[in-house]
């Protein structure tokens, strides 16, 4: 389980997180929603300490990762898979090599076993025949799928998804959501997803957390989230410009 306690983060004079408290249940998908630029990605990057907080703790299976040495941190990070917003595939490598990369760098797996496992993952994300392509030759949706295959290759316990459907058309976005739900069911990982594509994202989430003005306004199952009486949640769901969320 991941638990965030009283997390604060500023960039120069801009305070982004102002005391975030959040729990992400094991084996479930928790989706963090909020307006663009509210700090969702910043919060996500604290969960495997890609960013270090100014104040507060992040517990992964009871261990405060903000206080770990780099060696200890890398042990914890081995439990994580991350799907970045732009997929972050290494552009000097083919799709196959990108997905095989963590296995080659972090394990002693033989090349034949690597090939078997990578082909299996690529097949699962619908990129069975794309292994020899370079990232520049892929569409946005294909890149996300390849990124997902790489995120899943080490059988992670936790997968972080940073806006996995941003920039995709609604059909492709739904297919990526379904892919996330399907792989979560197959692998049973804990998923933390950052998104603002509502209400589609509700279908695959076990819990939805609303981040606004640097704090978590509400965490609840999607059904309860939709009917929440919190004005911030309602303004966001209904996409209104008037309300407690300040719109420029």
């Amino acid at each position: 389980m991941i638990r965030v306690a009283n997390l604060h983060k500023s960039f120069r004079s801009q305070r982004v997180l102002k005391g975030v408290n959040l729990e992400c249940a094991s084996g479930k998908i928790t989706t963090i929603v909020g307006t663009s630029g509210c700090g969702k990605t910043v919060l996500l990057k604290h969960l495997n300490r890609l960013l270090l907080p100014d104040k507060g703790e992040v517990f992964v299976d009871g261990v405060d990762i903000t206080k770990l040495s780099q060696t200890e941190l890398y042990e914890i990070r081995s439990k994580f898979g991350v799907l970045f917003q732009g997929a972050a595939l290494l552009d000097s490598m083919t799709v196959f090599d990108n997905v095989a990369f963590p296995l080659r760098e972090k394990t002693q797996t033989s090349e034949s076993d690597i090939k078997k496992k990578v082909d299996e993952r690529l097949e699962q994300v619908g990129l069975g025949r794309m292994g020899d392509k370079f990232p520049a030759e892929l569409s946005g949706g294909m890149k996300k799928r390849a990124g997902l295959a790489r995120a899943l290759i080490m059988d992670p316990q936790v997968v972080l998804f940073d806006e996995p459907t941003t920039g995709l058309d609604p059909v492709l976005a739904t297919s990526i959501h379904q892919l996330i739900a399907r792989t979560q069911e197959a692998f049973g990982f804990t998923g933390v997803l950052v998104s603002h594509t509502i209400p589609q994202v509700f279908d695959i989430s076990d819990y939805v957390a609303m981040l606004a003005d640097g704090v978590i306004e509400e965490v609840s199952p999607p059904k309860a989230f939709r009917t929440s009486t919190n004005p911030v949640v309602q303004q966001f769901i209904q996409g209104k410009t008037e309300g407690p969320i300040q719109v420029l």
Binding site: K45, L50, R77, S78, F84, A88, L90, E105, K106
Partner: protein
């Protein structure tokens, strides 16, 4: 007045902090060179990028530098009836100074800028974060192999620059201006000692380190946007040139 002093103080503190970050980046890069497993395939790849792919531009600049030295040396030495010293003057100038410095400039322009741009783009597209999130140290994976490769490639490139430069000077001096071939080489043999070769070797080695260190640092810490990458590339080239010249002065004053 107080606000001016405050701004100056803040600027100074920021510069000191930036220098500290640069040095700790260098220390970390060197530290990982001694931590197994060594990334041999990456080192070979970067030797190809830094060394083999810079070969033509280094050879060409060496050839023309040598030819210019042939003309200028002949013009200057003729005033003292000492044209026969052309070989030694060219060889000493190239081995001790021009070879290491100019080949370092060429490598900075050809490869250093590309390093900064590549790492800057990797930062902007979250590829460096992706490495980090896969528990793969990005400094060990991206920077250390480049530093080792440049330490191997730079002295070799400098040696090639020197040899081709001497050949260029020979062509101009002997074939074009009529200096005796025997006196060209005899003067060189008499004047050049092993210390001159060591001096050039040490310079090229340290310049290789400076180029990779600065260009990788600038690329690695580039602001994640298009202008950030271009700014990092420009800064890496300018700063490398300045550092090379300053470090060259210190090394020359020590090893003269």
């Amino acid at each position: 007045m107080i606000s001016f002093l405050g701004r100056t103080g803040q600027f100074t503190l920021e510069q000191i902090a930036a220098m500290g970050r640069m040095f700790s980046f260098l220390v970390a890069s060197i530290f990982f060179a001694f931590r197994p497993p060594a990334k041999i395939y990456l080192i070979i790849h970067h030797i190809k990028t830094i060394g083999v792919e810079s070969l033509s531009v280094v050879a060409l600049s060496g050839f023309f530098t040598g030819m210019v030295m042939g003309f200028q040396g002949y013009y200057s030495l003729r005033k003292f009836n000492a044209e026969s010293w052309l070989g030694s003057a060219t060889a000493l100038g190239l081995l001790r100074e021009l070879g290491p410095v100019l080949s370092a400039f060429m490598v900075t322009g050809r490869t250093g800028s590309a390093m900064a741009a590549e790492l800057g783009t990797m930062r902007a597209t979250e590829q460096i974060d992706a490495l980090d999130s896969m528990a793969i140290n990005p400094v060990k994976y991206l920077v250390t192999p480049r530093i080792i490769a440049s330490l191997i490639a730079m002295p070799l490139l400098t040696a090639i620059f020197d040899v081709i430069g001497i050949f260029g000077s020979y062509l101009v001096g002997v074939s074009l201006l009529g200096v005796s071939s025997g006196s060209f080489f005899a003067g060189m043999e008499g004047a050049v000692v092993l210390h001159d070769v060591y001096s050039g070797f040490l310079k090229s080695l340290s310049f290789g380190l400076i180029i990779t260190w600065i260009c990788c640092y600038k690329g690695f810490h580039a602001p994640p946007m298009a202008t950030g990458v271009s700014q990092a590339t420009t800064e890496s080239v300018v700063l490398s040139f300045v550092f090379i010249l300053i470090w060259d002065y210190f090394l020359t004053s020590i090893m003269l």
